[in-house]
């Protein structure tokens, strides 16, 4: 633009800014911010997210900073190093509990307990407003929300439970979104008529799929099963995916030369939409909770990670349906035809041109889905299925109140946390629904 004078460039930048202001997302944002409740929910969500991320610095039995024997330590930071295996603890920290040490100078987090720290002097359900028993000059702080049977601090449990809840919402919904996007996109974009594939390619793909299942689940079944059983879920799933992707790409590469043979190369229409919708119908025919329970039951070593993955892998159907409906509309639009006329690959059209315009309604499904995922995890830990016994979550704290009716703080606080989190995600979902609905737009 070097040949334009200053006035013209200013005009152009102004025009660009204007058009950005009138862009789809900025309108949506404006609409969303008109909804006071939704905005407040978003702010509360930021607070909860902050608590979840900094849980270690809010409730921890380790000090943030301490001076001991003339040395300065940052135990909470140090713990991270130890966790990744870069460092180890000094003997003096292992032999004496953090709260029993005699420090020269110390800064503790606001709540001086981790989720699983036991306070033997205050066990058996101490009320937050009742008497609590502390040694003279002890490092232990007040139990702001009381304790439960074995003396674990409820406030610390709630803080660390926030992290679990947020993680469940995040991981489960990421998985659900990925699966839902994939199935929704292919069924919506291709429909029943658009995917024309040569015979040989279909045959080879089916063969490769079966072979990949064979190599992953039969030949290496025990190896992968042991990996997953030992908590290395990601590497196990990665191996399975590696087999699948590897063999499928071999099949597709092979089909390129073979396609040239006339009989093998004849094109067949694949009714992708029907196949995907049938699949969704099957998943939807089983009550979600019972399906999750049945899958959780076959796991020998319970872990929150499994619960997240399972919730994610069964709750993608809503997102898939949303995306499918959007893409069925979008694929008839002219700009998609234009892209096809340019000869872009189908993958590129879906990924770069169709999907970005279909994402808006998915946000709604994700917001409500996070609420459901958090609720499901809380429910599972409430009934004591799928979560390890020593893991403290909101649901497991709430469940403790059934042992002791007089411990009202166990009935009130964890349940309230679940309620607030579920509510704000529902409100955000409502706000998004309104902001994205053209009919409701003023």
């Amino acid at each position: 633009m070097f040949f334009l004078n200053k006035k013209r460039t200013d005009l152009i930048t102004q025009a660009i800014e204007d058009s950005e202001e009138r862009g789809y997302w900025s309108i949506v944002r404006k609409q969303f911010y008109k909804n006071r409740l939704a905005v407040w929910s978003l702010r509360i969500f930021y607070v909860i997210l902050f608590i979840a991320i900094s849980a270690d610095f809010i409730a921890n039995e380790r000090p943030v900073y301490c001076e001991l024997d003339g040395e300065a330590h940052f135990p909470i930071f140090h713990q991270y190093l130890v966790d990744v295996g870069l460092s180890t603890w000094d003997e003096k920290f292992v032999s004496t509990k953090w709260l029993e040490q005699e420090y020269d100078y110390v800064i503790f987090p606001p709540i001086t307990y981790s989720a699983t720290t036991r306070d033997a002097r205050n066990n058996k359900f101490k009320s937050p407003f009742g008497e609590q028993d502390f040694e003279e000059g002890s490092n232990r702080g007040w139990h702001y929300l009381g304790t439960e049977r074995i003396g674990q601090d409820v406030a610390a449990g709630m803080i660390h439970g926030t992290r679990t809840a947020m993680l469940v919402g995040l991981v489960a919904m990421s998985i659900a979104t990925l699966i839902g996007l994939f199935f929704g996109a292919i069924s919506g974009y291709f429909g029943d008529d658009r995917l024309k594939v040569s015979r040989i390619r279909i045959a080879l793909n089916i063969l490769a799929f079966i072979l990949a299942l064979f190599f992953a689940f039969i030949t290496n079944g025990y190896a992968i099963g042991d990996l997953i059983g030992n908590g290395k879920l990601l590497s196990g799933l990665g191996l399975i995916l590696a087999w699948l992707i590897g063999l499928l790409s071999v099949a597709n590469l092979l089909s390129i030369p073979l396609k040239k043979i006339p009989i093998l190369g004849k094109k067949v229409t694949v009714p992708l939409d029907i196949i995907v919708m049938r699949f969704i119908e099957i998943v939807n025919s089983i009550p979600l909770l019972i399906l999750i329970l049945a899958i959780v039951a076959i796991i020998e070593k319970p872990s929150v990670l499994f619960v997240m993955v399972i919730i994610g892998t069964v709750s993608w159907t809503g997102i898939a349906k949303f995306i499918r409906a959007e893409l069925l509309r979008i694929r008839r639009l002219e700009y998609i035809e234009a892209a096809q006329a340019f000869g872009y690959s189908e993958f590129r059209i879906i990924w770069r041109h169709a999907l970005p315009n279909a994402l808006a309604p998915v946000l709604i499904a994700i917001a409500f889905g996070v609420a459901t995922a958090i609720l499901t995890e809380a429910f599972l830990s409430f009934i004591g299925v799928g979560i390890p016994d020593d893991q403290v979550t909101w649901g497991s704290l709430l469940q403790l109140s059934r042992d002791k009716f007089s411990a009202w703080w166990l009935a009130i606080f964890p349940g309230f946390a679940i309620f607030i989190t579920v509510t704000i995600f529902n409100l955000i979902g409502e706000g998004l629904t309104e902001a994205l609905d053209p009919r409701l737009r003023e």
Binding site: L293, A294, A371, F382, F405
Partner: protein, 590 residues
Amino acid sequence: MFQYIIKRILIFIPTFFAISLLIFGLSKMAPGDPVLVVMGGNDSNGVGQRSDLVNGEKAYAQVAERLGLDKPSFYFLLTSAAYPTDLYKISKRNHRETISRLIDAYGNADAVMDYYQSLKAIYYKTADIENARYSVEGTARNCINDLFNEYEDGVIVFKLNLLKDSLETPNNGMETIQSDWNNLIDKYNYLKANPTRLKLYLPTIRWYGASTQYHTWMFGDYPWISTVDSSDHYRIENLSSEITALVPQKRSLNNSISKLRGRNYAIQEELDSARTNASPDSLRQVFATNEVQIEEYLEDQTNLQVSIDVLSSERDSLSENLVRYTGKGFLRGDFGRSYIDRKEVSIKLKDALYWTLIMNFFGILISYLISIPLGVKSAMWKLKGMKVIDNINTGVLFILYSLPSFWIGTILLVFFTTAEYSEMLDWFPTSGAQDLDLAEDPDTTLWMRFIDVAHHLALPIFCITYGSFAYLSRQMRGSMLGVIRQDYIRTARAKGLSERKVIWKHAFRNSLFPIITLFSSVFPRALSGSIAIELIYAIPGMGQLALMSIVTRDWPVVFTIVMFAAILTMIGNLIADILYAIVDPRVSFK
């Protein structure tokens, strides 16, 4: 329309089978051995004589057969060429697991089977050995039992050498198995030296025909057309009861005989010693009559023994040829028996369904009865600009909708069912669906029972109701607002119809759509939605049964519950579609 329904029902069939396969697959992947669960967890593991071991194994095999678990899992099996075809014939699940782990590690099935068979032979042989040194015998038992479960090379080598060393100690009394043991070690080393791992990468498909676990589960192995001649079963039962009736007779005869013999022995002694007050003649007379009596008894006893022998030989010959059936299969209404308490699944379901149906019937009824008028009313409030009451209404409904029912259930349980906080708050019973004393008391009237059940179920019904009530009201309000903006409503108003008629005749009917779609999810939600509430209030309903059977891996019950939930969902969807067409004449299924 009719065609559409038929088409939908035809589509149900593959969906139904896909779900059954899913659940069946889950049950096969689940850890734990159902046979051991049925046997009460008792596995006579290496204790006792050879006959005990054989009997224990026989009992295991019998239970496995009765459950239909002695068959291959599925019609066909995609597996690697390394695995033998008849692996399923090894009845014990842990043995099967160890063998297939070993094959997975080395790929040489023949060598693995050879190793396993000789381990088993040693297992029996050890049971026969008597008077062995205690410590060596203990080591042998432990090593052999552990080896049945071990597949890691290091552990196996350790165990093999452990027993080898202790067998080499002098005078241990177990020298007979020493050569066998060394043989076993050779076999294991051979297995390690000759792996054929490439075979594992060779896929094969094995066909097993119709006699499989899945087939038995779904279709049953009982004949479809001809009824099975059950006379043999009855005959065997009769024979058994006759035999059991005869055995005590024989025993009492035996007792009488030995008593008489004892008496005669005493008489003989008295006579021999000749130091008696009674006359020898009368004694001799008693002695003689006793002898005659004994003779008679002996004869009776022989007769009895003969008849018992005849009966039992008939029983044995009959039961040898008898075909036992696992069941009629799911599709013919035979859901099998629970692994845990051997009760019929259908009976368990019926008992549980009773309470869930009562709770959900009232719950759904109440929520629909309140929410539909409330939804319409609140839409009116919004339209008429009554902002305050509309805001309060939507706010309360939203909060109710977001409140987790298991939290509210817990809170109500904690505060209103005991006098923990105040005597004034002990309003409801803590747990259960009815007062058991009252239920068993014959004097109670129906009314008293109703009051009792209502008292018990008030809180649970409230907990399962408020959420769906809030949801339905919000939906009803939303769709009413959507409909009221339509042109035809304006037309109706312009025609001069009364507001009442416009709302209830023109708008209401069209705003029912979302309510109808929700109707399809009512059944499955009723089945699973009350899990937490039934758990909290200890109501023996469907939700609790589902949870308990899943946790205890009671697969026949889980399978049935999930299949019914799926069927109900599909029927619900169909009903919703049909209702759509009835409510909205624009909908057609061409």
